[in-house]
Each structure stands twice: as structure tokens, then as C-alpha cells.
Symmetry: C3
């Protein structure tokens, strides 16, 4: 599990985390990065290391368009080139550090961790809903830092049967696993769809949607290589027009549910490996109800963060247990709901293999 | 020091720690175990790992006679067999985890860490005194978790000369090392006996036994392979009939001392390796005075726990020092009082060698 | 970076840290030592390990002229010879632990970590100023323990251009790196001299020296193999007679500055490796102003400790970054101010090489 896909965008930070005041340190794919924003608003992602005596540049200062080392004052531009050494006029040859391509999109800062000339904006997930005024967006901030391999989280997000056990007090109901899933794939995406018909609402659905009687509920989860996951879930009162569909195009149909007073929200999930055994978890949620109510922003955000904390606890325990059984490795037994997660693991493994 | 005797009972928990409500996680001999009690009161010791995605089962729930995984709801019986997978009717072949033989005896839960068909109840220490109504028993709860190899603790309990240095403020007196010991052995036990005649009482003897003048004091310690230790200590006022004896059978004679108003208590010690460098320490004490006085239960328990904490501190420092000198290993110098501990080490080493 | 010079004195403690009451544990060059003072005031530096069962002797007691083990009471003299084993009359052959030569000088306790017969007092730095009644001395106590290799600190003390970035709020000014340095060497010393003429005073110079207008400031740093560093800094109002000189002998000339009302202080720095990646930092400062003012002692000490804490933070971050880039080692780029530090590194490397 030690290798990563290099030629991909990884969420490195929220847009608001990277400022013109103070550099931000963040490690991604084992690379310690420093991020800063220049006077034009452009963002740089550099190696977090002065080429002189190795102090992290994140200990320094952003001064205009350069990043100044906090030890001896060497100055680096947004491409990582040292442009000034105090006390001398000549900059020694080779005085540069690595930089990576950066995109600012959908309120995220994305860093391309592979060859710069392969950086391809079309490989981002399509999260226009982050910028759609008809949806209310709340960013999950700060990102969680989870002591697990990132693929454990990929598995988690493609298997929503765990809501019946991990999230029974908020977004889960005990009947979830009783409803089958349909899995579809493209070259670099895996979609899992489950319809939960004529069932009681989960506690948070009841509370925020006002549902008392049974509902028809949908779970659409679409994962993209290497580790973005769009979860779209919602419901209508049972028998009020929601129709189970299992073809990906039905995703659009469900969208019409909002006009029909469907209760619906997205979870947008960007899973970024920090190291082999630690993972950054960025998420936002976007809802189609009470869009202008800041109290709802706060309550919804707090409750979902509580639910995601439950995942974090599970994932950390799972990794810890994998590690402590490492002296005696065991096969995993697969069950039916693992299908989508296993499909994504194969796609990621194939993509990594094709890089080498 | 990295190997353990497998075919032996190890104290894994107190009886009251294992309930029908909540599973208990405890690592023994490097094996992470989960313990739970079914509706009939029977105790199971299973591998603490779901065979599906490796979550510790101790994060799950006991529901009737099964243990349910907290991630996807797989259910395991007391033998470690998966009997249900939510969302499907068929349980995949091979869905089982390891289980170990368990005994509940003398208020301890004992787990047999080797081959199940060699589990042999006669290899338990005989701690009937835990169930003898004429003795007042207090369990040392919770068990200490000590950062040391378990054999350092075996050494400690067979050499009570350390009372003069480690426990001088409670159960020790400076004269202890001046009195010689007699060591006797059977195939799997080592007994150390010391009589300390006509000497001042240790502080706790004075306080709890009311002794002002000199006493005749006995120390009987019997260790059993791999790591149970029965310490029986007591005294009479000097010259009131206590007679030094060094034959094991004299143990029984001393028992009569109680009728003669001897002041006496047992420390029953079960030393359980958690890992090569961490150790669980379960102990109980059983006394023949103030048996029905709950204040004495509390005071005696608090004072002895304080004394044992002194051992814990010594053992942790000793292990830390062994580790930090590991780059430069040193011979140990042996002295006279090490005889019983060295004898037990040889027995344990022979037992381990005979397993392979 | 894993090797140390053995045949050298290392500062192990302050004189007041080693008492006749309680042994002091301190690890130097990976060797855990225990220090104590006997009834004649003489100091012993022994291996911190009982030869019997490896308990650190620093857990024991100083009793008169011996150190008693806290576990079984073995007694060691100041040469590390075991002179008594409780419970027996004979001390087993070979019952001794290692001892090292010790000097008490300039308020420091110095330990010679190599061959005892090569111990040579002339290899100490000459810090008579610690005992000169015309200078007010304050010891930096307790020593800092820094998570870095000691040579990073050697570099730091020979390159005072970092004052412009690390210490800009106390002893630095932004113009420091604009003034060139002159480097001179002897067989085992490196001296760096910088004169900063007609420049604004640093904040602490202004505060403690009462300087408002520009000053002429000098920085003399002399490092000695392996890791002692004498820094002598001071100033006069600009144009009041201070004359830049770059020959080592000028050091003496500057000394006369005091008579001319120069404001001056020494930092005496003893850098002692604890392990490859941790370092003890002992320092004292000695000033030629307000010598009899205890308030100045306190204020000056607090402010300089604050400045040195800034170094500690930089050095810890630097080492952490070197370690985390270890999977991908990088060349260091050298700049002009590195000259003295690189010269000292070469001297230390040569001295280590000549030992093997």
C-alpha cells in the first residue's frame, strides 16, 4: 500500500488557508510542501526546505512576491528559484527548490504531484455545485488528519452500508444494508447507487427535513481515481414520485427532485495522502434546503462533522489493527458491498502501475 | 528475551472486567484479544480483528451470544465463527477468526495461548485462598501495565531482599538482606524462604498488626512456570512460637500460625506478558486479620498498591536502562539472592525450548 | 553525522547541579552517566547502570562517599568499583562500572569522554571571565536540551548573520549581513570577526546600553574543537574610538573598550552532544555593565534566554526537516557566511578521523 499515483491533483488546502501573510506547511504524498500566495493572488507550492541549510521555509515570511527563509534570509520566488542571498550579490548556481503546479478551483487548492507537463485540469472532479448559488455550501474546516492509509477512506465512501453501524445515531438506519446496490464504472470512476424505499428516516433526516413517516431515500456515490468522492443523497416522502433508477444518467433525474421538494445534499470528499499511514480529509457539504439560514449552516455542519468523526475513529482503529497484526498478515474476506471499493482499488493500482 | 511460553495459562482479566455489555480489548503475548461474556456467562477470547476489514472487534457490541463488528455488522460466535453478514444470506467461506481456551477461576480470567488440545487446568496455580471465607481478599484493580519484560518481574518477586531498598517506607526493613534464604525446587516451581528473626517490624506491619516490639517474620515465595508467584508473609511477636523451617512442607505449618494469632497475608501475583517489553501485572492480597472491616480493605489495598507502584517504577527504569545500553551489551553480575530467580529463568527457558 | 570526538572535555553539568544529596543523571555522547559529589567535594562521573541488574544508579542514593543502588543496595565508590553487596561478604569479581575523568572549572563540570590517560586540562576553553570579578556572570540554567545534531549549533554560533532574521526583535538588526566577516584559524580554533559600523542599535542594545543614535558594533566569535564557542560582542557610540580590526590579536584591543565605556558582553557556549540527534546547550553570559545590579542580572538573563530559545526553535525545525527529507537527501548550497562553520566542521571531522 506504499505507492501513490503521482500524476493527479490532490487537494492540499482550502482557498482561505493560503494567504499573503503567512506560509502554510502541508505534507502531501510524503513531500513536505509550503504554500503561499503572491501579491497577484497566485498560489505557489514549493518544497518546504531552504536549499542552504534545510530550514523549513514555512518558518519564514511572505514578503510581497517572495518567500524569505527565517534563518539566513534567502529569498525564493513562486517557481522555487532563489533570487537573493543576503550579504552577497551572486546567488550560487543550483540554488532552487522544487515547485509543483497548482490550481485554485471549487474553493480548494489543488496540487499536481507528478510531472508538471502532464498536469491536466480535466482530471479534476466536477464540483460546480460548490459555486452554484442555489445550493448552500459549508466547508469542513479544518481538514481532518487521519492516521490511516487513504485507500481505507476510499473504501468507506463507496460502501454506505456502514451507516447502519457507524452512523446509526445520525445519518444511518438499520435497514440500509438490506437494500441492494448497483455498481457502474467508467475508465476512471466507480458509481454506487442504492435506493432505500419506504423506510423510516434517519435521525438527521427527520430533524432537518421534518420527515415523520417513511421516506424513499437515494444514495449516489461516485468515486474518481485516485481519491475524490462525490456523494449525493436525499429523499422524498414515500410514494411521492421518487423512482429508483440504477443507470448513471439517472443522477440528473434525481436532480429534478429538488423542484419536487426533495430533501437533498452533497458531500464532496477529497482524500489526500499525507504519508503511507496518514491522510488529509477535506470535505464540503452543499444542501438544497434552508440555503440562506446561517443557523442551519452551523447545525448541519456540526452534526455532519460529528458523523465524520465517527468515520475517523473507525479508520484509525482499522489502520492500527492492520499495523499491529502486521507480524502475522491476514487475508481480507470480501463481502458483497465491497464491490465498488474493490473496483476503485483496481483502477488506482492500474493507474500507479502504468506510471512506472 | 523475545520468546514466550505458549502452552500456559495467562491471567487476561479480572472476572468483573468481562461483561455481557461491552467487549474488552487486551493484548497478551503480542496477540490482540477481545474478551466477552455470553448470555450463559461463558467467556470467549477471540482475535481482536474482524476478518472482513480488520476493525478491532472490541470496537463493536455484544448482542446476546454474538459479538457484532462496529463497522459493517458482521457477527461472530464465541468460537470466532462468523455467523451472519448483513445484506447477504451466505457467509463467505473462511470467515472465522482465532479463538483461545478460557478458564474462569479464582476470580481471574485465564487464557491458554498455545494449542487448544494441550490446555490443562492442572497447570493453574492453586489459589484456593481467593475463595476461602476465612481470608479477606482484595483484588488489585486495574492491573498495572508495566513497560518491562515480564521476567524482570519474576526476578523481583523471588528476591525479597529488595524490600530493604525499594520498600523501606512500607513493607521493608533494613535488616532483610542480612537473613539468608533457602531455595527449593520442583519440576516447575521455585520456592524461596527467609526467616527474619527478632527484628523490628516494617512500618506497615507495625501499623496494621499493632506490633511495637521485635517480631519473627517469614517470607515464603513460590514461583511457578511461566509467571505466577505466590507470596505468603507474616509474623508473630518475637519468641511467641514461630519456628524457622526451610522445607516446603513447612508452608502448611505456618498456616497454623493464624490460630496462634499470627499476622499474615498472601500476595497472589499473575504476571502476563503483553509484548516483549510490556507486562500486565495482576495481583490480589488475602489477609487473615480484620477480615470483615471494609476500611481495612481500603487502607491495606491503598498501601500495598503504593508499594507495588515502587516496583513498577524500578522495573520500568531497569528496562529503559537495558534498552539504552543495548548498543553496548553488558554482562549481568549475579549475587547470592539471585539464586531463585535464576532457577526460574532456567525453567522457563527450558519449557520454551521444549516447545520448539 | 553519527560519530563524536571522544578525547575531549564536554560540559556535563553546572557545578551547582551536582550535590552530595542526590545523584544527577545525564547522557553524553550516547553514554548514560550519573554524577555525584563525595564528602570531600570531589565529583564522580560513572556509568548510570548497576552492574548487577542494570537499574540506573541515578535512582539510588549518595551516602557519604558512595553511591548506593536503589534496587538491591550495592555500593559504588567514585571510581565505579563496587565495594559492598548486601547479604554477603564477598564482592563478585568484575563488579565495577565505567568511570570518566572529571574537572570542575569555570563553574562547569567537564567530563573527558575518551581515554583517561589522554585527559588534558589544556584542551579546555579559557573562560577565566567566568571568575573575573569585574564581569557580572549569569549562568543559563537549566541547560537547553535541543532535538538537533550538535554541529548545527556549531554552525549557528559561527554565523551571526542570522541575527538579522532569527533575532530581529532583540539582538539583531537588518543590516548585520551587509557587513563582511574576516575568518582566521589556528590548529583547533576558528575565529569570525565582523564590525558593524555606524548602524542603529539592536533593541536590547538600545534598552540595556541606553544607545539612541548609531553605534559601532563588534562581533567576535571563536569556536574551538569540538564544540566550545566564545562570543564577545559589544559597541561604542559611532565614531567614539572603536576601530575595526580583523587580526585575532585585536581581541585584546577591544577589551580595552570597556575602560573607554564600551558596552560589552560575552556569551560562553558549551555544546554537548547527548545523542546523534539531541544536544545539551550550556551557556553563560558575562557583562561589563551594571555588574552589581540583581535586576539587570534577571532582565538580561531573561531576554537572552528568549533570544536563545529562538535558536532552539530554528535548530529543532532544521533537524526535523533534515530527517524528513532523509528519504531524498539533498546537497546543501553554501553561501559566503558559512566559511567559519565549514572550517570548524572540517577540523572536527579531521580530529575524529585521527582517533580511529
Amino acid at each position: 500500500m506504499g505507492m501513490f499515483l503521482k500524476n493527479a491533483w490532490y487537494a492540499a488546502a482550502w482557498d482561505h488557508e493560503v494567504t499573503t501573510d503567512k506560509p502554510l506547511a502541508r505534507t502531501i504524498l510524503n513531500e513536505p510542501l509550503v504554500l503561499f500566495r503572491d501579491t497577484s493572488g497566485r498560489i505557489a507550492a514549493l518544497e518546504d526546505r531552504c536549499c542552504h541549510r534545510h530550514l523549513p521555509l514555512s518558518k519564514g515570511k511572505v514578503i510581497g512576491d517572495i518567500l524569505q527563509c527565517g534563518y539566513h534570509g534567502l529569498e525564493f520566488d513562486t517557481l522555487g528559484v532563489c533570487v537573493r542571498v543576503p550579504g552577497q550579490t551572486r546567488v550560487p548556481p543550483g540554488s532552487r527548490i522544487r515547485s509543483w503546479p497548482v490550481l485554485e478551483r471549487f474553493q480548494f487548492i489543488w496540487v499536481w504531484m507528478g510531472d508538471a507537463d502532464k498536469a491536466d485540469e480535466s482530471l479534476l472532479p466536477n464540483w460546480q455545485v460548490m459555486e452554484d448559488s442555489e445550493w448552500a455550501v459549508v466547508k469542513g474546516d479544518p481538514p481532518f488528519r487521519i492516521p490511516c492509509h487513504y485507500e481505507l477512506f476510499n473504501d468507506n465512501l463507496l460502501d454506505l452500508s456502514h451507516l447502519a453501524y457507524v452512523h446509526i445515531n445520525n445519518i444511518g438506519t438499520s435497514t440500509v444494508p438490506d437494500f441492494p446496490i448497483v455498481t457502474t464504472k467508467t475508465e476512471n470512476t466507480v458509481r454506487m447507487i442504492r435506493w432505500i424505499m419506504d423506510s423510516p428516516p434517519a435521525p438527521l433526516y427527520a430533524r432537518f427535513g421534518g420527515f415523520v413517516d417513511n421516506i424513499d431515500r437515494w444514495q449516489y456515490a461516485e468515486a474518481m481515481v485516485p481519491s475524490y468522492n462525490t456523494v449525493r443523497v436525499g429523499c422524498l416522502p414515500a410514494g411521492c414520485g421518487a423512482q429508483p433508477g440504477d443507470h448513471p444518467d439517472d443522477f440528473a433525474v434525481v436532480s429534478g427532485g429538488r423542484d419536487a421538494q426533495g430533501f437533498e445534499f452533497y458531500n464532496l470528499n477529497a482524500i489526500t495522502p499525507e504519508t503511507e499511514n496518514t491522510t488529509w480529509y477535506f470535505y464540503a457539504h452543499s444542501r438544497n434546503f434552508a440555503q440562506d439560514d446561517p443557523n442551519m449552516d452551523e447545525e448541519f455542519s456540526r452534526e455532519l462533522r460529528g458523523a465524520f468523526q465517527e468515520d475517523v475513529d473507525i479508520l484509525a482503529a482499522q489502520q492500527m489493527n492492520i499495523d499491529r497484526h502486521a507480524h502475522n498478515p491476514k487475508e481480507w474476506i470480501d463481502i458483497r458491498v465491497d464491490g465498488p471499493g474493490l473496483a476503485l482499488r483496481r483502477m488506482v493500482a492500474d493507474a500507479i502501475a502504468s506510471e512506472s
